[in-house]
């Protein structure tokens, strides 16, 4: 019931907030602005005004030392960072929106119900055991080892959750949440076990990684997540109608002609791909998956044809904005992205919750 009230019906308050097209344009503008800031702000003080020079030297094949430095910062550091940040934000926000839609529960978030923890466990295991126990695995997958393991971990957690909860016939809200939290706690405990077995250096790396960061962004990483991004982008449009059907309930969705079981499997896979790849490149970044879809539903209504793409745009914009803060606040050192995200995200979320509570929806 809570779920139905919170999510509303399709087209519930979209009308008073402006048309979907206009809202989407605003979201796209926000992303463009965040991308511009991400490219033009950094501790070196190099701005986008250097771009023509850099392109010129790239085209001609030679340039002076100053241009080489600008090229390094703009093309090899900030651009991959921009792409990865946008991917991480979009992937986490879309995964949150899909989970909330599938479970008809506003609290379903990859971070809250254990998907991120599963992905993190697999990634931590790969980092800590990559040179010993898991060496054949890292050799076989090369640069893809981390995203692939994080994907497998995320998928295993999602699959376990769906199997456990679906055995009851229907997705009971409380069971879902409790099972998800228990799964997440279990995965976190195993991560802790690995951390305990690691030496100081690995431990410090793991801790920093669990706080999330985009500072290791590079072109190989962009290439490593590109297939996952393509899969998610390709599958997403086919899910909007099914998710809108599911808003009414599983039986109703079935009567509308939605193959509920197939859709649920597809959503689980897509979520695992999105979250797994995001966790693999940026570590654990919380709050995006829960804040962004909620914000989108408040301003644009619950229609998934709008919710999914708009969540992607705003999620990307939010992470890019937070990353600019992360790299500028203590420059030339850097704050962990996950920390900035939670500091920015938690008050926004609180504000949303409290305001809605007072407005009395």
């Amino acid at each position: 019931m809570t779920a139905a009230v919170t999510m509303g019906g399709p087209g519930h308050h979209a009308a008073r907030m402006g048309s979907a097209g206009q809202l989407m344009a605003v979201a796209a503008l926000a992303l463009a602005l965040a991308a511009f800031l991400s490219l033009s702000i950094g501790s070196t003080g190099i701005t986008l005004s250097a771009l023509p020079r850099v392109i010129g030297s790239l085209a001609s094949g030679h340039g002076d030392a100053a241009t080489a430095r600008e090229q390094l910062v703009l093309i090899d550091i900030r651009l991959p960072r921009l792409l990865l940040g946008a991917f991480v934000g979009a992937a986490l926000a879309v995964a949150g929106a899909m989970m909330q839609g599938m479970f008809r529960n506003p609290l379903a978030d990859p971070g809250l119900i254990g998907v991120s923890s599963g992905a993190a466990l697999a990634a931590v295991a790969t980092i800590a055991l990559g040179n010993s126990l898991a060496a054949p695995w890292t050799r076989a997958f090369g640069v893809y080892a981390l995203p692939v393991s994080a994907f497998c971990g995320g998928f295993a957690a999602t699959a376990a959750l769906v199997l456990l909860v679906a055995r009851q016939g229907q997705l009971a809200t409380s069971t879902l949440l409790l099972a998800g939290i228990a799964l997440g706690a279990f995965a976190t405990a195993l991560t802790g076990l690995i951390a305990f077995a690691s030496d100081d250096r690995e431990l410090r790396d793991l801790t920093l990684w669990m706080l999330g960061s985009l500072s290791g962004a590079s072109w190989p990483k962009v290439l490593a997540v590109a297939p996952f991004a393509l899969i998610v982008a390709f599958v997403l449009p086919s899910l909007t109608r099914a998710l809108n059907g599911l808003l009414l309930g599983e039986a109703e969705a079935f009567h509308l002609g939605v193959d509920v079981e197939r859709v649920k499997r597809l959503i689980a896979l897509t979520t695992a791909a999105a979250v797994g790849a995001a966790v693999a490149v940026a570590g654990v970044v919380g709050f995006v998956g829960i804040v962004v879809p909620h914000l989108v539903r408040i301003i644009a209504g619950p229609d998934h044809r709008v919710v999914l793409p708009m969540s992607a745009l705003l999620g990307a914009a939010l992470v890019l904005g937070a990353d600019v803060v992360a790299r500028m606040a203590l420059r030339p050192a850097e704050l962990p992205l996950g920390v900035v995200m939670a500091i920015v995200g938690a008050p926004i979320f609180l504000h949303m919750v409290v305001r809605r509570g007072m407005g009395g929806s």
Binding site: G42, S43, T44, G45, A65, A68, R69, L72, V73, D76, I77, R78, S198, D199, D200, R201, L203, R204, D205, L208, S213, S215, G216, A217, S218, K221, R327, L330, R331, P332, A333, E334, P336
Partner: protein, 311 residues
């Protein structure tokens, strides 16, 4: 007076004066070094140095090149002015590519413990020479570190002086250690956390130099030790790290409050030594001095009159 008529001469003199004041060999040919990772690095200009790693910064300053340092990392606690006066690029294992590039160094000297790996990879690919400094906890390791850094910053004579001093210190240390008949069973306690002692195997090398045996040598890194294990290890001495906040007396009280420690010979003899962390574990040029100071505290009869004769 005649100089002012010839701007060229005055510019040349000014340049010379500047160059000699910062100790750079003027207009010398490029220096080529082979770093810890086996990379051959060509250094054209060592006037703006970024030092990453507490031991690296300490050596650069010991070589008299401190004025040329433009940036350090947060582990560079000695000399204290390094972190106060220079830009900090953050913790050495959480570097940011653009942050490091932004300090505009012409030479990066980074401990091989620096990270994360992707950032180090990016930095190695830039045009700024990136020299990885080995991290070996031995006399030979310190000498190798000092020689590599001295060559990279162009103060090789100074480097040999520091190496000679370090080697002399180690020789003196070895003579003292030889007089120890039975090594003390010592325990290194990083901190008291939540009522448990966090002990480390990492201190084994420096304890051995000071003529003591680390009872927790088997511990990988630093781990909290249950009280019962503390009783079983029965250390004869406890060495703990001085922190920037709080007093030694407070730390000692906290240690003695540990139930497990109370029954050990160390507590009975009140043999608890507090020392600075980087000094003791950093394995910079001060390592033999630190070992000698520690030895003086552990074996007061042995050191004779010169227990305090450390730098």
């Amino acid at each position: 007076m005649r100089l002012s008529k010839s701007p060229l001469v005055s510019v040349c003199l000014l340049a010379l004066a500047l160059a000699s004041s910062v100790g750079t060999p003027a207009a010398a040919a490029d220096v080529v070094v082979t770093d810890a990772g086996g990379r051959v690095v060509r250094i054209a200009d060592a006037t703006r140095i970024l030092a990453i790693g507490g031991d690296v910064t300490e050596i650069v300053y010991a070589l008299g090149a401190g004025a040329r340092v433009v940036g350090v990392d947060t582990t560079s606690q000695f000399p204290p002015q390094a972190l106060k006066e220079k830009k900090s690029v953050g913790y050495m294992r959480a570097l940011s590519s653009e942050g490091v590039i932004s300090v505009d160094a012409t030479l990066i000297l980074a401990s091989e413990r620096s990270g994360p790996p992707e950032v180090v990879k990016t930095l190695k690919a830039t045009s700024v020479p990136y020299v990885e400094i080995p991290d070996q906890h031995s006399a030979a390791g310190i000498a190798a570190k000092v020689r590599l850094i001295a060559r990279a910053v162009g103060t090789e004579a100074e480097g040999e002086r520091v190496v000679a001093q370090v080697e002399a210190d180690f020789k003196l240390l070895a003579e003292r250690t030889a007089r120890i008949k039975k090594p003390l069973r010592a325990l290194f306690v990083l901190a008291v956390q939540n009522g448990r002692a966090v002990v480390g195997g990492q201190a084994t090398a420096i304890l051995r130099l000071a003529g003591a045996e680390n009872v927790a040598a088997a511990v990988n890194g630093f781990r909290p030790l249950p009280d019962e294990a503390l009783v079983e290890l029965a250390p004869e001495a406890v060495i703990t790290m001085r922190r920037s906040s709080g007093s030694d007396a407070h730390d000692t009280t906290q240690l003695l409050a540990l139930k497990g420690l109370a029954s050990t010979p160390a507590a009975a003899n009140k043999r608890i030594v507090t020392m600075d962390g980087l000094y003791l574990l950093g394995f910079g040029p001060r390592a033999p001095a630190a070992a000698r100071e520690l030895m003086g505290q552990l074996y007061p009869d042995l050191a004779g009159g010169d227990a305090g004769a450390t730098r």
